[in-house]
């Protein structure tokens, strides 16, 4: 179906936390997206590979174990090289180690090239709306 955007979900790196990305995947599926769920322990490169194969519109990445920053250094460049400049990059979960101000994460991961960064226990309805409007802006959804 033409107008069914494709998104890739999964928890990046050596992170085995899967509950969040499973709930997220189901929520976006129910919201009418075509979801390719990679589950946990997904290497950054796999996100890129699958995004190419499926010509995805967005990658919704999760990370909870606090080491996403190390996992994702240079990820955006790789996306560009792979010709995925146009794929939206979202990330959420628990992005830093230890209690800290979420603002730090936001700055950090925007620098790493993510379009949207979500705080712990982010509300999914909101995220779904965000993605829809971002895709509309890009004319990839109507």
């Amino acid at each position: 179906m033409a107008n069914k955007p494709t998104i890739i979900t999964g928890t990046v790196g050596n992170d085995a936390h899967v509950i969040g990305t499973k709930i997220l995947s189901r929520a976006f599926k129910d919201a009418g997206f075509n979801v390719v769920a990679l589950g946990c322990l997904t290497p950054p490169d796999e996100f890129i590979k699958v995004a190419q194969e499926t010509n995805a519109d967005a990658i919704l990445m999760s990370s909870l174990y606090g080491m996403a920053e190390i996992d994702l250094r240079g990820f955006k460049d790789k996306c560009r090289e792979a010709g995925l400049d146009n794929v939206l990059l979202y990330i959420g979960g628990i992005l830093g180690v230890a209690r800290h101000d979420f603002k730090e994460d936001e700055v950090k991961f925007k620098k790493l090239g993510f379009d949207r960064v979500y705080p712990p226990e982010a509300n999914l309805k909101g995220a779904i709306e965000d993605l829809k409007s971002d895709l509309k802006k890009k004319g990839r959804m109507n």
Binding site: N14, V18, I19, G39, Y65, M67, I70
Partner: protein, 482 residues
């Protein structure tokens, strides 16, 4: 399918050959000299032996905190364990970082250096393989308590025990059901057999090593019978390899009757199966309880303290040996040292005043929950042994494939994930989808009736959306979602 791993003790020669290969996985392996290590471990004071410390505490009628904690830099780790012991803790865990858990010792090493340089922990645990025996002994010698490594792979376990840790808490089901996506249960069993055999080797030479049992840890709201059944298999596998001390970890889920019932019935069930299979000399020195997998919303400090206080109270009333309360930082990230201290201080306060009163507490519903739990565990295990022709390992592997062993929100792709749990009107965990669990109608009807009761009260169908609501409810101070 043909299953190579058998429920059978690894013979010593073979074990020693494996042992020497394991030590080659990383330079620090050289620091392990098995005979010297056993000697060192055997000569530790009773207070540093996990089993003896636990037995002593049980006899004293105390409930203490068993936390999770690990930080990359050595000096920091020493300071951390000192804080923990100062706050009354007698069982000290060393949580190992995720790179080490995945054999990426080099990556862990780099992150360790970065942590030292930046003064900010960029690793989520203690990279024990990089630190090696000499450093890790410093940690253990810095306080008077019994140590247990959390998430140790083969080499990590070698270093842990050689350093004087006296517990080998590695569970095939925990790895398979909670930490892994691609590995098979057989592979996890094979690894755990090794660490259990290592523990058995120490044990047979007078350095008793305890294995704590995890089973298939439920992700979210799910009755504990599946978890307990798999803990039984964990126990049998350990005992076969020579382990003589096993401790069950009981996961609370918020309903007091169930939490107390599970605390009481788990060791009973374990004893039954250990004896039935001839492992009469394997002790169960205590019962450890966990506040998991529900957790406080980071924002609400009052909620954090309320939740951990309630948990400590239930554990104390249930006479748990230890309780793993989540710190007030649980939802926020790896807890700071201060967060550990203030959280355990609050929980300890409650455990102390309750246990000292030696309260005789009788709660309606506990017997029924014990009964139904044991029925479910027996049903699962009967099927497991049937599938394995009496071999619990083969049986478990086939059971997973058949969906006889199943759990929701599981990371592992080999698991069917066709079951779901939900809360009933009293906040007790019930099965919503039975998938392929080998339950008779008596069991199924019990759960269906409980779910139906809530449906009537709330005038809505109980479905996946409610499951998710329930998932968050308790940590927000509600017994069921809404």
């Amino acid at each position: 399918m043909n299953i190579k791993v058998k429920q059978q003790k690894i013979d010593e020669e073979l074990f020693l050959r494996m042992h020497h290969k394991v030590l080659e996985e990383w330079p620090t392996g050289k620091e392990v000299d098995l005979e010297e290590a056993v000697e060192y471990n055997r000569n530790l004071p009773d207070s540093k032996n996990f089993m003896k410390a636990t037995l002593k505490q049980k006899a004293e009628g105390k409930t203490t905190i068993w936390p999770r904690a690990g930080t990359p830099v050595l000096e920091e780790e020493i300071a951390l364990v000192k804080t923990l012991v100062a706050s009354g803790i007698r069982h000290v865990p060393v949580t190992i970082d995720s790179y080490t858990r995945n054999y990426q010792f080099e990556k862990a090493g780099r992150a360790l250096e970065e942590s030292i340089r930046s003064g900010k922990a960029v690793l989520n645990g203690y990279p024990i393989v990089n630190h090696g025996v000499k450093n890790t002994r410093k940690v253990i010698e810095s306080v008077d308590a019994a140590f247990s490594p959390r998430g140790a792979v083969k080499l990590a376990m070698e270093i842990a025990l050689a350093s004087g840790m006296t517990a080998a808490g590695k569970s095939a089901f925990l790895e398979f059901g909670s930490y892994e996506k691609n590995r098979t249960l057989e592979d996890c069993c094979e690894h755990t057999q090794y660490t259990n055999r290592l523990a058995g080797y120490y044990t047979e030479r007078g350095a008793v090593i305890t294995t704590d049992l995890h089973g298939f840890v439920p992700s979210g709201v799910f009755p504990l019978s599946m978890n307990i059944a798999c803990m039984v298999v964990d126990a049998l596998m350990a005992a076969e390899q020579g382990v003589r001390s096993v401790i069950p970890l009981v996961h609370y889920n918020g309903n007091m009757a169930q939490d107390l019932a599970w605390t009481r019935v788990t060791p009973k069930i374990l004893r039954k199966y250990l004896d039935r299979h001839g492992y009469v000399s394997t002790l169960i020195p205590g019962t450890f309880c966990n506040q998991i997998p529900l957790f406080p919303v980071p924002q609400s400090m009052g909620g954090c303290f309320g939740y951990l206080g309630y948990t400590a109270m239930v554990a104390a009333l249930g006479e748990a040996t230890t309780i793993y309360v989540r710190t007030i930082d649980e939802g926020a990230g790896v807890p700071t040292r201060e967060a550990h201290a203030v959280s355990y201080e609050a929980a300890n306060w409650i455990c102390n005043v309750v246990r000292k009163q030696n309260i005789q507490f009788d709660l309606a519903g506990v017997e029924e929950e014990e009964l139904i739990t044991e029925m479910e565990v027996d049903a699962i295990l009967d099927k497991v042994f049937e599938l394995g022709d009496g071999d619990c390992i083969a049986g478990s592997i086939k059971a997973v494939e058949a969906g006889v062993i199943d759990s929701p929100f599981c990371p592992n792709k080999h698991v069917k994930d066709e079951v779901l749990g939900i809360k009933d009107a009293q906040g007790a965990c019930r099965y919503l989808h039975f998938g392929n669990l080998p339950f008779n109608n008596e069991i199924k009807d019990f759960h269906r009736q409980k779910v139906a009761e809530r449906e009537r009260l709330e005038k809505r169908r109980m479905d996946y959306d409610v499951v998710i609501e329930d998932f968050w409810a308790f940590s927000k101070g509600k017994i069921i979602g809404s």
